[in-house]
């Protein structure tokens, strides 16, 4: 992970040092046109801002906000998140189906973190379907109880699907999106694991991907 962060930050740093070195060279030759200098400085400033934005984004992701775990109904959180992305769903003409298991056992979880995980999976699902035109864009969100008694939530899309290396999507900075940071899934996975659960991906049949995560139940029911 540190190697990948290094790459993200290294690009603007490389541009900054190149521009700076170039100016120094021109200065040494007394050949520095103010206009050239101005352009170089503008680029340096822009790249400095870009580097700090990368760091701010990473900080935002891994900030250790104090966890506030409480007994939650996962179905409720699912509904909240779907309400939140309603406009996105409409805009992208994605139809959502919910298959929520009634009387789900409660889980002990941080509401914000759980929302973050679900939001990430749902938004990924929507984005995976934006390129799809020849079939319906369908998102299925399902909650169920596993044999072990743990809860399982699955988010199924009919998008472009995963390549052969499904697990690579959990690698930090791995992204298939033009403007993606590649941090959503690795962070979601660490959040789920922080709750004693698992998060994984499988291909959907015939199209798309399925993301599933489990959470241990507390024993009390909603």
């Amino acid at each position: 992970m540190t190697a990948s962060i290094a790459h993200e930050v290294n690009q603007p740093l490389t541009a900054i040092t190149n521009n700076g070195s170039a100016c120094l060279r021109l200065l040494a030759n007394q050949n520095l046109d103010p206009e050239v200098l101005r352009r170089a400085l503008e680029e340096i400033v822009a790249d400095g801002n870009r580097a700090s934005a990368v760091i701010a984004r990473i900080r935002g992701f891994i900030k250790k906000a104090p966890e506030e775990k409480s007994e939650l109904d996962v179905n409720e959180v699912i509904q909240e998140v779907l309400a939140l992305v309603g406009p996105e769903l409409q805009k992208n003409r994605v139809s959502v189906e919910c298959d929520l298991r009634k009387a789900l056992p409660l889980v002990l979880a941080d509401r914000v973190q759980l929302q973050q995980v679900l939001l990430n999976l749902v938004v990924n699902g929507i984005e995976a379907m934006t390129a799809v035109t020849e079939r319906p864009r369908e998102l299925l969100v399902k909650s169920q109880i596993e044999e072990s008694g743990d809860l399982m939530v699955t988010v199924r899309d009919s998008g472009t699907g995963l390549s052969s290396e499904a697990d690579r999507v959990f690698t930090p900075f791995f992204t298939t999106k033009a403007n993606g940071m590649g941090m959503g899934l690795p962070i979601s996975r660490s959040l789920v694991e922080g709750h004693g659960g698992r998060l994984w991906a499988t291909p959907n049949s015939p199209h798309g991907a399925v993301f599933s995560f489990t959470l241990p139940a507390t024993g009390s029911s909603s």
Binding site: N10, L13, T17, N18, N19, S21, N29, A46
Partner: protein, 208 residues
């Protein structure tokens, strides 16, 4: 006539591209930048000494795969690799594939400029050598097949007399053919002729 060399920069990051062009311009080097391996390949490379500055982490195609592709297409442009996190196996592979240098971003400007210079020098030398080879090849092809035969025997160490006997001609004829071959090859001496013939003629074709 001196040829204006060109440095090709392939990096997916616009800032890195423009800053590299700027840096190279400060030492009078002309650079052309591309955002992907593909767009570089689509461009018809000018017939001048050139060097490629290549980011290892290109989207779609890794720099190392690209290096292999170029080799497969017989494009032998010297490559200076740039990487954010060069691990040792990666750099070893790159260097084995003929890379000039493997620099970790951000790098010292002097290191990059030195590497580019080495790359351009290497390409210049390769082009000289190719030109020389092409010249030799043309000269050698201008020999008649009999002259080529005689030359092959000469460099195999045979005397005129022996060659004449082998070919069933007069020694004087061999002498004439030999001197004509020397002339056409612009050979200053027998040693010079041998050197040139060894360059153009693969060993298997040599007279045994």
């Amino acid at each position: 006539m001196t040829e204006v060399p060109v440095v090709f920069v392939v990096d997916d990051d616009a800032s890195v591209r423009s800053s590299l062009k700027f840096l190279l311009s400060t030492v009078g080097l002309h650079a052309e930048a591309f955002d992907s391996a593909d767009s570089f390949l689509r461009k018809k490379c000018p017939d001048v000494p050139s060097c490629l500055v290549l980011d290892v982490r290109l989207p779609g195609l890794s720099g190392l795969d690209f290096q292999r592709d170029l080799a497969a297409r017989n494009i032998c442009i010297p490559i200076v690799f740039l990487t954010g996190h060069g691990d040792i196996p990666m750099s070893v592979r790159a260097m084995k594939g003929g890379a000039v240098e493997f620099l970790t971003k951000p790098f010292r400007d002097q290191d990059l400029l030195d590497a580019v210079r080495v790359g351009l020098d290497r390409d210049r030398a390769r082009r000289e050598q190719e030109k020389e080879m092409a010249g030799l090849r043309t000269r050698f092809d201008s020999l008649t097949s009999r002259e080529q035969e005689v030359v092959s025997m000469v460099i195999a160490g045979m005397l005129n007399k022996q060659i004449a006997a082998e070919l069933g001609t007069a020694e004087s004829t061999v002498k004439v053919q030999r001197s004509r071959a020397m002339e056409k090859m612009q050979a200053e001496s027998l040693a010079h002729l041998i050197k040139m013939i060894q360059k153009v003629q693969p060993p298997s074709q040599k007279a045994s």
